[in-house]
């Protein structure tokens, strides 16, 4: 294993912990995006660029968008 792979693995481990440890859903969405970024780096250094691209677009485009709109909707409802 090259050092870069070890760094990526550690980053993903820490990122996953950070996602679980974040309590506020809004912040959690952002932390999740960063975690996805770390995961994409991991896939690149393990020579799986196709998977890295898929992970990147899902975790930084599709998923946050849907989570954020759902959060906004719920916040609006809570206020009523």
């Amino acid at each position: 294993m090259i050092p870069l792979q070890i760094v990526a693995l550690v980053l993903v481990g820490l990122g996953a912990l950070a996602v679980v440890a974040t309590r506020d859903p809004l912040r959690q969405t952002l932390v999740l995006g960063l975690y996805g970024l770390a995961l994409a780096v991991l896939f690149v250094v393990f020579q799986a660029p196709d998977v890295a691209l898929s992970e990147l677009v899902v975790s930084s485009v599709a998923f946050p968008f849907i989570l954020l709109t759902a959060l906004v909707k719920m916040r609006g409802r809570r206020r009523e």
């Binding site: 294993m1 196709d50 691209l53 485009v61 599709a62 968008f65 849907i66 709109t69 609006g76």
Partner: protein, 240 residues
Amino acid sequence: MSRRTRLGLFVVCGSVLFALFVWGLAGLPAFGTFNGEYGQILNSVAGTERHVTNVVSSIVFDYRGFDTLGEEFILFAAVIGVALLLREARDDRERPRDEVRSDAVRAVGLMLVGPTILLGLSIVAHGYLTPGGGFQGGVVLAGGLALLYAAGHYRAYRAASPQGMVDFAEGVGAGGYVTVGIAALVSGAAYLENFLDLGTKGTLASGGTIVVVNAASGLAVAAALVLLFHEFLEEVMYPE
């Protein structure tokens, strides 16, 4: 459940899980070795058999094209489900005039719309040459459009993605994939078997039906995500 019981339950379950994990880890092949026979065969034959430089795409859109058809329709069904649940029959409501107040967000965000869409098109177009393909590029395309809303305003986003056009694109993308398979049947080959000229390896004109199927899935994925964004944004924009 009291804190004590929960902690006890965690210790028991956690240690069992940990033991199973270590056991599984010990049984793994050595780091860097790969025993997948199928993968090794494809890695050596895909280049000459399909004239593509990205073996992953040849698997996704050719050797295992039928699996991808199923995946395509999972996304299709999910989006239809969301539209069925959330879409309003009438679309004559006045669109809200929201705008982004921060000049910096607006300037940087809107500047990125063009490059993002171009990047998406490039990832789709080069799917069988370099990493990427219909799915990844399609999501980037949808993301470029969503930037219009995130950094500009809702009206601009909706004007750039008229409902009728997106519905049509979704149908053409998903239907196009199926049609390539049927065309293969008509030509006398098996369903989704490559029947077009394979072209020159390393150029955009290579891969035969992979080109068509890749483009169809790019269109379907981009449209599916834009439709999804439409429905979710409508929920936010018209709080009733």
